[in-house]
């Protein structure tokens, strides 16, 4: 790892009573990488992301995001990152323009900057005719793209995307991933969780979580070679249900 580290975790753990949601995960993400954080639903991905973004305190272990400690420097982390949650969290009763303006203001952009960024964003997303309609009236795919753009509005060092492409058609998903590439090219580290294994192919490196632990970590090609399979889907099957994998192999 010659590039500087954007996100790193060492034995990061989170317990809820008797239940261990995240079990001593360890990994590093370099700056500018598109890192896929994969796993089935309930594997612990969302809990891990919430710890990395300062929303949830870890039970034990260490982690740093954009150079700041997740225990003691959560506010600094929040200044340096963008976040797009599963439920998109745009204010549905506000318009696209108003949402952009809100987050622009929150992240400290001046009025002039907000105006410029708003115009640019709306143009790039093709949302200009719908800029003043309430967000709830927009189709799902457009909401997602808007939410992503809003998460990027202050050009953060790291952007966390939690299941950003749920429920949309493949074409929109493709467009979304183009936006992700653009962001990475611009120097932003993209930390994306998903349960769509085909999206794993799009990432520079991936980790696969099973029952709270990281079961595999590497580039998609490395992992496919290691398990002797053709697709990430099958990598995942091997990891999640080893008996099934063994059956197939024989």
């Amino acid at each position: 790892m010659s590039a500087p580290v954007a996100v790193e975790a060492y034995e990061l753990t989170r317990r809820f009573g008797d239940f261990t949601a995240v079990d001593a995960i360890t990994f590093q993400v370099a700056e500018g990488e598109v890192f896929g954080f994969l796993g089935a639903n309930g594997a612990g991905k969302t809990t891990a992301i919430r710890m990395l973004t300062g929303l949830l305190a870890p039970t034990s272990g260490r982690a740093r995001v954009a150079g700041h400690d997740v225990y003691t420097e959560t506010e600094e982390i929040k200044r340096s990152i963008g976040y797009m949650s599963q439920r998109f969290s745009l204010y549905e009763d506000l318009t696209a323009r108003e949402n952009i303006r809100l987050y622009g203001g929150i992240y400290g952009l001046t009025d002039a900057q907000v105006r410029a960024r708003t115009a640019e964003l709306l143009r790039r997303l093709g949302l200009e005719p719908y800029a003043d309609a309430p967000v709830r009236s927009l189709p799902l795919g457009w909401k997602q793209k808007l939410a992503f753009s809003v998460a990027m509005i202050h050009e953060p060092r790291v952007v966390f995307l939690d299941e950003p492409t749920g429920g949309v058609d493949p074409i929109t998903r493709r467009q979304f991933w183009e936006m992700i590439y653009d962001a990475a090219e611009g120097g932003t580290t993209v930390f994306v969780t998903t349960h769509y294994m085909d999206e794993a192919e799009y990432c520079d490196r991936v980790s696969i979580m099973v029952d709270g632990r990281i079961a595999a970590l590497g580039t998609p090609r490395e992992l496919k070679e290691r398990f002797g399979v053709e697709s990430m889907d099958e990598v995942f099957v091997r990891l999640a249900r080893p008996e099934a994998g063994a059956e197939d192999a024989s």
């Binding site: 919430r50 439920r87 009763d93 303006r101 809100l102 929150i106 992240y107 400290g108």
Partner: protein
């Protein structure tokens, strides 16, 4: 500063777009103010009176006439039988029976005293009490009249206009009713009802506010940003503070126009006190919102609190009459203190020096509660 501005803009936009909320914040309190204030009085007009006159003398007829002439009573039935009167009372056709026993006039002339019976239906105890005091004052006026007629000698010696006579002690009692000499109930009730209305609305809306964002998920998005706890709470507080102040102002205007409530003190003081008070009241609502996990919980907490505000703030029954422990509970209600200030300033013409104590209590309240709310609100779950 930019952050706060951005947040405030968002809050105001959301409120403006929520029709139902606007109706509840503005229209509902005003309508209720008009209707409920009109109802809030103890002055009974023309109560129905059932007369059982067993004496049928000049004096007894005079008494019945006086009762009717006072305008307070209207003779709805008369009979010689108490049984019929009782029936009317039981059926709730009349709230009071006047029974003048036999030999009423004779007793008055001979001994100077005679009893009459007043039977009230005390199912509605408040009404019974009010009617009793009406009847009492009519009786004593009539007594004095009769006294001049029937016992002129005594009146000459010891009546109110008699010249001083050593050996006959006499005390002249004069009474003055200050601040509300016409005993106008609206002057007393309208400011209080207005305060309670605005408070119920403001704290309930405030209580649901943060919890709703919790439930929807937009709260998480804010927690991930650099927005500080203080900025967040302030953005939740200020819009409703402004709206509640506006509500209060319009309510005062309505009160003045429709009910003629007095403004004997400084309106500036009233608004200043309102500003401090609303910080406390809204602060409590916000604190509930940070503590509650669901909107339902927030609603029940808010309901329990508002009931205490409604019934124990001295609005309907005097705090002085409560048992001591209940008076302490009442002290915990910011509504109580603000009602004291409103009534003191509006009706009694109090100045800043007179209401310093309740104002300080309200300020302390507001500071404490808002600190709790900010503390309670955590951007990071432990």
């Amino acid at each position: 500063m930019g952050t706060l501005r951005a947040l405030l803009r968002k809050e105001f936009l959301q409120i403006a777009r929520d029709r139902a909320m606007l109706r509840m914040l503005v229209a509902l309190p005003l309508v209720q103010l008009l209707v409920l204030s009109s109802a809030s009085t103890f002055e009974i007009r023309r109560a129905s009176l059932y007369v059982v006159d067993e004496d049928r003398s000049g004096a007894s007829r005079g008494l019945v006439e006086r009762m009717a002439a006072s305008g307070r009573f209207e003779v709805a039935g008369a009979s010689v039988s108490m049984a019929r009167a009782d029936e009317a009372l039981l059926d709730r056709r009349v709230p009071v029976i006047l029974r003048i026993p036999l030999h009423f006039e004779r007793a008055l002339v001979r001994t100077g005293t005679a009893p009459v019976q007043l039977v009230f239906n005390a199912e509605d105890g408040a009404a019974a009490g009010v009617l009793r005091s009406y009847a009492g004052s009519i009786l004593s006026t009539y007594s004095a009249e009769l006294g001049r007629e029937l016992r002129p000698t005594f009146q000459a010696v010891a009546g109110p206009d008699a010249p001083p006579t050593p050996g006959v002690p006499r005390i002249d009692v004069r009474t003055r009713a200050w601040f509300n000499p016409e005993l106008n109930y609206h002057h007393y009730m309208v400011p209080g009802i207005l305060v309670v209305l605005v408070t119920v609305v403001a704290t309930t809306v405030g209580a649901m506010n943060i919890v709703r964002e919790k439930e929807i998920g937009t709260l998480e998005q804010l927690n991930v940003t650099p927005v500080t706890k203080a900025q967040f709470i302030a953005a939740k507080l200020l819009p409703f503070w402004v709206i509640a102040l506006a509500d209060l102002s319009v309510g005062l205007l309505v009160g003045r126009l429709f009910f003629g409530i007095p403004v004997n003190g400084s309106l500036l003081l009233v608004f200043g006190a309102a500003a401090v008070y609303l910080l406390a009241a809204l602060g409590i609502g916000l604190w509930i919102s940070t503590v509650a996990e669901t909107q339902q919980q927030a609603m029940f907490l808010s309901f329990a609190l508002n009931m205490v505000y409604l019934l124990m703030s001295g609005l309907f029954t005097p705090i002085q009459s409560m048992p001591v422990w209940a008076q302490w509970v009442a002290q915990l209600s910011p509504v109580k203190h603000f009602i004291v200030v409103m009534r003191a300033v509006l009706v009694k013409g109090a100045g800043l020096a007179d209401v310093t104590v309740p104002l300080l209590v309200l300020a302390a309240y507001g500071a404490t509660v808002l600190t709790f709310a900010v503390r309670q609100y955590s951007k990071t779950t432990a």
